[in-house]
């Protein structure tokens, strides 16, 4: 298994030299920056996961016995802030997207490599502020920073947390900007728009949302900061200001941000399903149109977060209607994945198990979203565990599952190594089982009326909460296992070779790990994406 004797191990590649601090911290190679992000977001993922673990441990018994109510508020706020902005938003785009987008386009790098590195530093700076908020006693506003609580009443480290999120927003703006310009300007000869892999389309659409929505988040966080720091309040009801205005501006970003947290996953899953079904993705153009319309429609539905907040009924009706419309492209995607699987000779590799989990969990998350989009039902279940379960089905069941699927799928490309097949399948199944055990009971809890964000509850809810906490334990195994065997594979994994999955796509045409500038010469594309032959062996 020695690397030096295996003919498939390339003599030149992007990881070979420059292993000093300089080679990493000043690199402009998109593949190395992807690694910087991978390490950083993994650290934040486990920080956010630790908060989740404490939350679940608290909820294993009805009385609030493990932590105080105040600490509990800080825990779920930390969990939300870290998971949303420091893990989910950058997860696939900044790691897999950063690594793969130029390769899938046949480019040598992103359009602005130094900007790409800058965006990682900005991310890190934002992360430091968030850690400072934790050290400074934590923040208790919830991840949404609702006014007037965050501006007039909260005595926690709001400013540090808000600054952290404000700063990290610019990191995602820069990444999005880089991706859009790269996709428009740096495609290889012959790589027309309708030959692009769906992963590229998904990251393009995500980038559009990042660029168009994130500035409004920056704006609204800035307004919170100036209200707290200088007393210039535009949300202060005493002056005729309106706290609901904060919610409008906040959700103008944060609802589209939900699509930042799912579209890249859809892209990953399309790649995996096509590869392990040995078939082209069913209805490619329909998939592209769905991706783009999800990105656009995602911008006009934000009011469904405010049905019971005091928004006008007519605005609620409009936002409800638009929300139902988003279900259409999402459903098209789910049906097309299933149609791709139809009569295919499916290979149940670890990435495929993740991808299939995604399709199921995303469908449940999406369908419960329709329930929540109905104003009358939302009045009943808003701010209950039903909502918590719904968005965890999208964000964990959807995004985290597909992120791990993508990581397993492209790991051989990132590292040139294979991981343990058995353990990876065990991990994928542990994730699926643990996830459902954790979050399905929460649908029931919410439907029975257990509200979010409380650290104690009536004894009637105990059984379901115990199930949920046990599920979280299984889920944790599903997260820790990949950390172990993937790290192990870095040194001891078998040499993967250029294309271990026999997949199509430009990234698979070169050695693993790839060269510093990706391609020995600029590739020329002559066929559509997913040119798999279902009849071939």
């Amino acid at each position: 298994m020695s690397v030096s004797t295996d003919p498939r191990w390339p003599s030149e590649h992007y990881l070979k030299e420059d292993w000093g601090l300089r080679g990493w911290l000043l690199t402009t190679d998109h593949k190395r920056i992807a690694w910087l992000y991978l390490v950083s977001i993994t650290a934040f993922f486990f920080l956010g996961g630790l908060a989740a673990l404490l939350i679940r441990l608290e909820l294993i018994t009805p009385p609030g016995d493990l932590v105080s109510a105040d600490t509990y508020n800080r825990l779920f706020s930390l969990h939300g802030i870290v998971m949303v902005w420091f893990f989910l938003i950058p997860s696939i785009p900044a790691t897999l997207g950063n690594f793969l987008l130029p390769m899938m386009l046949g480019a040598r790098d992103l359009a602005f490599p130094r900007l790409n590195l800058l965006s990682w530093y900005v991310y890190t700076l934002g992360g430091l502020f968030t850690l400072a908020a934790v050290i400074g006693g934590g923040v208790d506003t919830g991840w949404t920073f609702y006014t007037p609580y965050s501006t007039l009443f909260s005595n926690s480290a709001v400013i540090a947390a808000v600054m952290g999120v404000f700063i990290v927003g610019f990191s995602s703006i820069l990444t999005g900007l880089n991706f859009i310009v790269t996709t428009h300007k740096m495609r290889a000869p012959g790589l027309t728009w309708f030959r692009l892999p769906l992963f590229v389309w998904a990251n393009y659409a995500t980038s559009l949302i990042m660029v168009l929505a994130t500035p409004v988040l920056s704006c609204v966080l800035m307004l919170i900061s100036v209200e707290r720091l200088f007393g210039i309040g535009i949300f202060d009801p005493a002056l005729g200001g309106d706290p609901l205005l904060f919610q409008h501006l906040f959700w103008f970003y944060s609802h589209p941000a939900v699509y930042i947290m799912i579209l890249p996953g859809m892209g990953v899953v399309s790649e995996i399903i096509a590869c392990f079904s040995r078939k082209p993705v069913f209805g490619y153009q329909g998939m592209v149109i769905s991706i783009m319309s999800i990105a656009v429609f995602g911008f006009v539905v934000w009011g469904h977060h405010m049905f019971v907040a005091g928004q006008s009924l007519y605005a609620g009706l409009m936002f409800s209607f638009f929300t139902f419309l988003v279900a259409l492209p999402s459903a098209i995607k789910a049906f097309n994945w299933t149609a791709t699987l139809y009569k295919a000779r499916i290979i149940f590799s670890a990435p495929m198990i993740y991808a299939l989990s995604f399709v199921g969990l995303f469908t449940i998350g999406g369908l419960t979203g329709i329930i929540l989009a109905s104003i009358a039902i939302d009045v009943h279940v808003h701010d209950t565990y039903f909502v918590t379960a719904h968005f965890h089905y999208i964000m964990v069941g959807g995004m985290v599952t597909s992120y791990l699927g993508g990581l397993h799928f492209w790991w051989p490309k990132l590292t040139g190594r294979m991981y343990s097949e058995l353990w990876s399948k065990v991990a994928a199944l542990a994730l699926f089982i643990g996830f459902n055990l954790t979050f399905f009971p929460q649908f029931l809890l919410g439907y029975q009326g257990m509200p979010r964000r409380y650290h104690e509850y009536p004894a009637d809810f105990e059984l379901l909460n115990v199930m949920s906490t046990l599920g979280a334990g299984v889920l944790a195994i599903g997260y820790l296992l990949p950390l172990l065997y993937l790290s192990w594979s870095l040194r001891f994994g078998a040499v993967a070779g250029g294309n271990p999955w026999r997949a199509t796509g430009l990234e698979w045409t070169v050695d693993s790990p790839p060269l510093k500038h990706n391609f020995p010469r600029t590739p020329r594309v002559t066929e559509p994406a997913y040119a798999y032959d279902p009849t071939a062996d």
Binding site: H184, L244, F252, G303, S312, L313, F319
Partner: protein, 87 residues
Amino acid sequence: MNDFRPYLLTWVALLALLGVIVAAAALFDGLLASMIVLAGALCMIALIITLFMGLRSAGGLLRVYATGGVLWLGFLIVLTLADYLTR
């Protein structure tokens, strides 16, 4: 100096428009003033973007994205107002 002509003319037009909208704001009141002010300001913005920033000679892609930015700001303002106007 011929290359500079369009810029100088734009500048003159901008200052003239500025005069018009300030005069309208100071002299008239009510709807008329607001209409003149908003129309004049939009003209000024259009002049700066097309001539000083060269959108006139830029490719279709830039125009699409420039329009997109304005459109998205429109989404934000119009849908938010939709709530306040129907409360």
